[in-house]
Symmetry: C2
Subunit: 252 residues, 2 copies
Amino acid sequence: MMNLQVESSSARLPPSLMKPAMKPERDDRWSSMQEVMDLLRFYPLDDVMSDGYKFPHRRIKAGQSALHMGQPFDGLYVVRFGALKTSITYATGDEHVIAFPMKGDLLGFDGVCENQYLSDVVALKDSDLIKIPSSVLFTPGRACNEIERMAYWAMSREIVHEQTAYSLSHQAKSEARVARFLRIQSERFADMGYSANRFTLPMSRRDIGNYLSITMETVSRAFSVLDELGVISVVRREIEIHSQDALREIEG
Amino acid sequence: MMNLQVESSSARLPPSLMKPAMKPERDDRWSSMQEVMDLLRFYPLDDVMSDGYKFPHRRIKAGQSALHMGQPFDGLYVVRFGALKTSITYATGDEHVIAFPMKGDLLGFDGVCENQYLSDVVALKDSDLIKIPSSVLFTPGRACNEIERMAYWAMSREIVHEQTAYSLSHQAKSEARVARFLRIQSERFADMGYSANRFTLPMSRRDIGNYLSITMETVSRAFSVLDELGVISVVRREIEIHSQDALREIEG
DNA sequence: CGCATGCTTGACTGAACTCAAAGTCCGTGG
DNA sequence: CCACGGACTTTGAGTTCAGTCAAGCATGCG
C-alpha cells in the first residue's frame, strides 16, 4: 500500500515540463511545490518560480484522525497517498459522511472561513498528507501568491466534487446510486493510475450507505443484485467491474 | 421588493468601522469594496486600503438566467438583493437544485477550476448582482490581494453552506427535511434583516422538493401536516412560523 | 479457538412515489 | 370588467421500494 504513487506517476504524464523528479525520493518527509501541483493536477500557464519552500508531510495511521471539528485552522492538506473519510457529526450524535478523499484531493478547505475545521477526517488506510500551512498560504508576496491561487483553484474543484457527491443522494433508486458510486470510484482509481475495473474499496458498507443516504443493508443488496446481473463481481470489498456500460445503464 | 437592503443595513450594524455609507446610494450601478465586504459579512482584522475600484452591477429579471453551464468563467458574483436558484442539468435532462442564493451569497465559484461555470443560475425574483470580474480577482498586487482573500474566504463559506444543504437530503423523514428547510430559510431571512417568523418563499414546491430530494407532493403534504400541527401556517408561499422550538423538535 | 466486527439475506412494515383529479391564483385578452 | 388558460398547489388512492428487525455467515484478530 505504501509507495504506489511511484508507479502511478510514471504511468501518467502530467502536461507540465516533467522535470526529472520521477524517481521515488529518498527523503519522503517534505514535498516541493512542483510535487504538490502535480498531485493536485494544477498546471498553471506560466511557470511558477519555485522559491524552494518545502511542504511538510503528515503520516496518519488507519483509523486515526487527521482533522477534528472545532480544531483551529492551521492549513490545507493534500493527500499524497492513502484513503480517508470526511464526515460531520451533528449535535444529535449522528454522523454524515461527506467524502472519501484519496490521492490528490484537498482537505481542510472548510476551515478557512470560520478559522476552524468544520468536519472530521479519519484515515481508512495508512495515509500521507502534505501540509500547506496557513502561514504560507497567507504570506503576501510569496511566489506571486501562486500558492494561494493554487489553493483557490483546488477549493473550487473540491466544490465541484462535492456537487457530484451531492448528486449521488439525489436519484431515487438505490441500485442506481450504488452503480453511480462504483463508477465514480472506478474513475478515481483510474485517475490515480490504478485499474478502473478491479479495485478494493477502502470503506465499509456502512460508510457507503451513510454517504449515499441509504442503509448498509440496501447497499449490500444492491451489490448482490449487480453481482447477480453479471455487471460486477463483489467479494467483501474487492470489486471487479465487468461492464462499465451496463453500470452506466443502471444509473439511469 | 426593490430597496429592502436599505432598511436591513440600518437594522444590523456590521462590526466594521461603519463609515457613513448608510444612506441609499443614488447611483446603484456600482458598489465599493466596502459594500461588497459588508454584503459578504467579511470583516478582516486589518483595514483594507481601498483602491477606489468600483464593482459593476448586473440586474436580472425574474425568470431570466444569470449564469449558464459551460459559459466561460468571467468572475464571481455577490447577490445584492433578490432570490435565485442554482441547479445542475444532467445529460439525461433532469435537473438538480443545488442552492437558493439570496442577499450576501456568492455565485459562480464553481467556475474557477475549469474556467467555465458548472451550474445554471436563474433568478426567482428580480435580482441584482455585483460582479467581481476575474481580471480584478487575479490581478496581483491589487490592495494586497485583499479581494482574492475575500473571495477565498467566501468560497470556503459557500462550501460550508453546501454541506448544510447536503445534510438536508440525508435525514430520513420528509417532514423533518421540510422543517429543517423552513428553519434554515427563517435564519437566512433573519440574517438579512427581515422577519424570521413571517416570510414569502421565492421558490416553488417543485424546486423545494428537488432541492430536498423528495417529490413536490411530499413537500406539499409535509407543509399541510406542519400546518395542522399548528407549528406553522402556510398559504401558498406565505409562511408563518408559530414555534421555532416545535420546528426544531420535528427536525429530530 | 473464540470473540468481535462486518457483511449478507430474509420477512415485514411503513413511508414516499406515482398517477390522477380537483382547486387556486394570476396574467392575458376579449 | 370578466372570462379564459396556464402554472402551481393540494389531496386522494394504490403501489413500490427502502427501512427495520433479526438471524446467520464469513473474516480477522487476540
